[in-house]
């Protein structure tokens, strides 16, 4: 009987466990986790914070399901891996043997290091425990400062605002999420935030978190080079994430920004696999190893890794990572290659507010396509399309989501848009209408396939 050990009970870990069980009804499956809340929808935490969901709703699987799958949970952090001996050392002192191991330890919020970070009221949003902590503090928080970029920073901004907290949002540069959004899109988001009462501070760097009796009382910053002291009771950070790869580093596995894995999710050590936010996965299209912090890719990687751990031969293909999220109340789809293609230190470049990658982000989005067409229509609706030769390789759909799914299909199926290319790239093209009409025809032709 095979003994499978999985470190981490998040999206990738659980998907792997399910895939192993599907192939190996008899094997023993151990899931080791440092999270007392075990498994829940991590993206769902944003909606718990905003009050749209009660906490109990984000737990996806009932306990009986785990029992039926015969998953054995071990509530302890893992301290070390000995790949030669095929053993793990746990934080509670125990040692465990494995035949096949999956590292699915995810990522953790990167934190800046100004003075005062130990004060109560300094928060991040990684886990259920973090979310509960923020909600507890929010009750006695009149004003909060949010520092950072990307989706999680906005989730903090909007969640706190929904709880009646006055929110000040610090941006180091001159606009929001410049690594993925273009200037028009950044401004749409910023305008809507301001309309909701959020005060945005541009060109602002946090210098120190100030406190009394162990609690946050203010932040000290520099705004446009001038000192700013802002009294507040909370300082929330979302400046990027850090894959949790200490175990892999210590075990001598090949790592870069994450744990390097091949298209079967195998690490450089025999019988050790990695998946999810911690894995830096080979992307055949660009020939690079890239990080994602996305729920669905974490599940897909976990599934492939689990199948391969149980003797399968499943190849994981990155294809076109995408995310649908809300930015200042506007539903926004981001898919494929939509970036400027800039690199820094040999990796896709982030922006002023974020070190590296963040939640709900993919390095692949920053890779550069070839031609771009963009249109803003009927208020805050926006379409930005990226073409390479005759196919679409990336898109941003903000606001009206009528074309979100059609565009997803056109990109993922790499549908030939040759007949449309010139029209799409012409000045003042009505992209929504061109694509809508094309989609109509495509659907008729492929009715059976799409249904």
């Amino acid at each position: 009987m095979s003994l499978y050990a999985i470190i981490g009970s998040g999206a990738a870990g659980l998907a792997a466990a399910n895939a192993i069980r599907a192939r190996d009804p008899a094997g023993q499956i151990l899931i080791l986790t440092a999270d007392p809340h075990v498994h829940y929808s991590r993206p769902g935490l944003a909606y718990v914070l905003s009050g749209e969901l009660p906490e109990k709703q984000v737990y996806q699987f009932p306990r009986e399901f785990f029992a039926r799958q015969r998953f054995e949970f071990v509530q302890s952090g893992v301290q070390a891996i000995q790949t030669d001996a095929h053993t793990l050392r746990l934080e509670d002192g125990r040692a465990l043997r494995y035949d096949r191991l999956l590292i699915a330890t995810g990522a953790t919020a990167a934190m800046p290091e100004p003075p005062g970070m130990q004060l109560e009221g300094v928060v991040k949003l990684d886990s259920m425990a973090d979310c509960q902590h923020i909600l507890n503090l929010a009750r006695r928080t009149r004003r909060a400062v949010v520092v950072g970029g990307g989706i999680t920073a906005l989730e903090l901004v909007e969640g706190l605002a929904a709880r009646g907290v006055e929110v000040h949002y610090f941006l180091r540069g001159d606009r929001y999420w410049s690594a993925v959004l273009d200037e028009v899109e950044s401004r749409i988001v910023e305008r809507r935030l301001a309309h909701d009462g959020v005060e945005i501070h541009y060109h602002t760097n946090l210098v120190e978190v100030l406190g009394q009796k162990g609690r946050v009382t203010a932040v000290q910053a520099e705004e446009n080079g001038r000192p700013l002291t802002l009294p507040c009771q909370m300082a929330a950070f979302a400046i990027g994430i850090q894959p949790r790869m200490e175990l892999a580093v210590q075990a001598g596995l090949k790592v870069q920004r994450g744990i390097i894995v091949d298209d079967h999710l195998r690490t450089s050590a025999p019988d050790v696999f990695a998946a999810g936010d911690v894995a830096q996965v080979f992307d055949a299209q660009s020939g690079q190893y890239l990080l994602d912090s996305l729920w669905t890719p974490a599940i897909q990687q976990g599934r492939a890794a689990g199948a391969n751990m149980a003797g399968g031969d499943v190849i994981y293909e990155k294809k076109f990572p995408f995310n649908v999220t809300r930015l200042a109340g506007l539903v926004t789809t981001i898919i494929g290659r939509v970036g400027k293609g800039e690199t820094a230190g040999g990796r896709p470049k982030g922006d002023a507010d974020v070190a590296g990658i963040m939640r709900g982000d993919s390095e692949l989005w920053r890779l550069s396509p070839e031609a771009v067409a963009a249109q803003t229509y009927a208020g805050d609706n926006r379409l930005r399309l990226y073409l390479k030769d005759n196919v679409m390789v990336g898109a941003v759909v903000m606001g009206d989501q009528t074309l979100s799914r059609p565009i997803q299909v056109l990109i993922q199926e790499q549908v030939d848009l040759g007949e449309l290319r010139a029209a799409l790239l012409s000045d003042n093209a009505d992209l929504a209408r061109l694509l809508g009409d094309f989609w109509e025809g495509y659907q008729v032709k492929h009715a059976a396939k799409i249904a």
Partner: protein
């Protein structure tokens, strides 16, 4: 806009072909559970999304609460895949 009217024509066509059901796109789903939470009949829509199954339960009112509330456009009204309808009939 022109394509909107065409979209709704397609929708009508589907309506004639088969009764509409809530159909998920699992790739978009982050399993937050807003859909299940807002279903007036307590259908676990999230589980359907996880498994990629249309909601063909006869108790579904097709009220559209889940479709409307999903923050990620996972759910839409569409014809349920034929094999699922046949399965249901066989039950």
């Amino acid at each position: 806009m022109n394509f909107r009217s065409i979209f709704s024509k397609t929708a009508q066509k589907h309506e004639r072909l088969a009764s509409q059901a809530v159909v998920p796109d699992p790739q978009r789903c982050v399993q937050c559970g807003i859909c299940s939470y807002n279903c007036p009949l307590g259908i676990d829509v999230r589980l359907h999304a996880l498994q990629g199954l249309a909601v063909v339960e006869s108790k579904c009112l097709t009220c559209g609460e889940c479709v409307k509330r999903c923050p990620r456009g996972v759910l839409r009204f569409d014809a349920a895949p034929l094999e699922q309808i046949t399965l249901k009939a066989a039950k």
